[in-house]
Chain length 128, copies 2
Amino acid sequence: MSVDMLLYASTYVNMFFVACRPNDPVQLLAGPLSEGDANELAGILKVLADPVRLRLVSIVASSATGEACACDFTAPLDRSQPTISHHLGQLVTAGILEREQRGKWAWFRLNDQSLDAVHRALGRPNCC
Amino acid sequence: MSVDMLLYASTYVNMFFVACRPNDPVQLLAGPLSEGDANELAGILKVLADPVRLRLVSIVASSATGEACACDFTAPLDRSQPTISHHLGQLVTAGILEREQRGKWAWFRLNDQSLDAVHRALGRPNCC
DNA sequence: CTGTCATATTGATGTCTGTCGATATGTTGC
DNA sequence: GCAACATATCGACAGACATCAATATGACAG
């Protein structure tokens, strides 16, 4: 990913967070999306729209402690260590996962706010 | 899009519909996703993860009659007619929109079941 | 049947993305 | 400091994707 692309992506991710505060949610079904809103929502959906990243999120979310070590992902997902690291980086940049370094190991947990915002963006206005 | 890719995509879209019947929903947060479930969910999320397609869906969903004519999309979205047609085709293939030919015009409406399934897949198990 | 209009398909192109091997960075224990 | 280990970054590559111009398809009017 180029530097320009990274800046582009993080810009929209940040805008998405701002726009998803309770009183100003981006809502797919509430009205025609502006170009900006569509870019924000598409940006975070693109990060989710990958089988490996979805499995990473699901593994973290369903772990007993709510967190998982990077070392636990390589084997079940059948991808190289750089590839897993790349996907984890995408998820962290998008705000879907949070990374915490603990000694040699990197631990990841879900950012509930971020995923809830995406969830609500795809639902009806009066939904949860 | 190649024929192989189309077959690939439609396979996963169909599997997603099957998997999203009420008693067997794909749930991102309910447990580790299998490779198949992850492919299904990623497939339909990929279709949604484009600004133009999100705006198409939002325009259709928020129209007073619940449907919109293809001719209404080109101007506000600032894309060529073939590009709009391409995106509409993707949304129809994925089951998110339904197409109805009425004379010279093509009308599109939302498939509520499809979008609801994606919405629920990203939510908590006890959510709506 | 023919022209006109709306939409779909084709073909081409530049860009983006997932992947991996190689290597760098950073942490721990000795 | 040094060796061992976990993770991140770099560089490269193949495949996928969004886009448009040109063209084809299909429907209606006269």
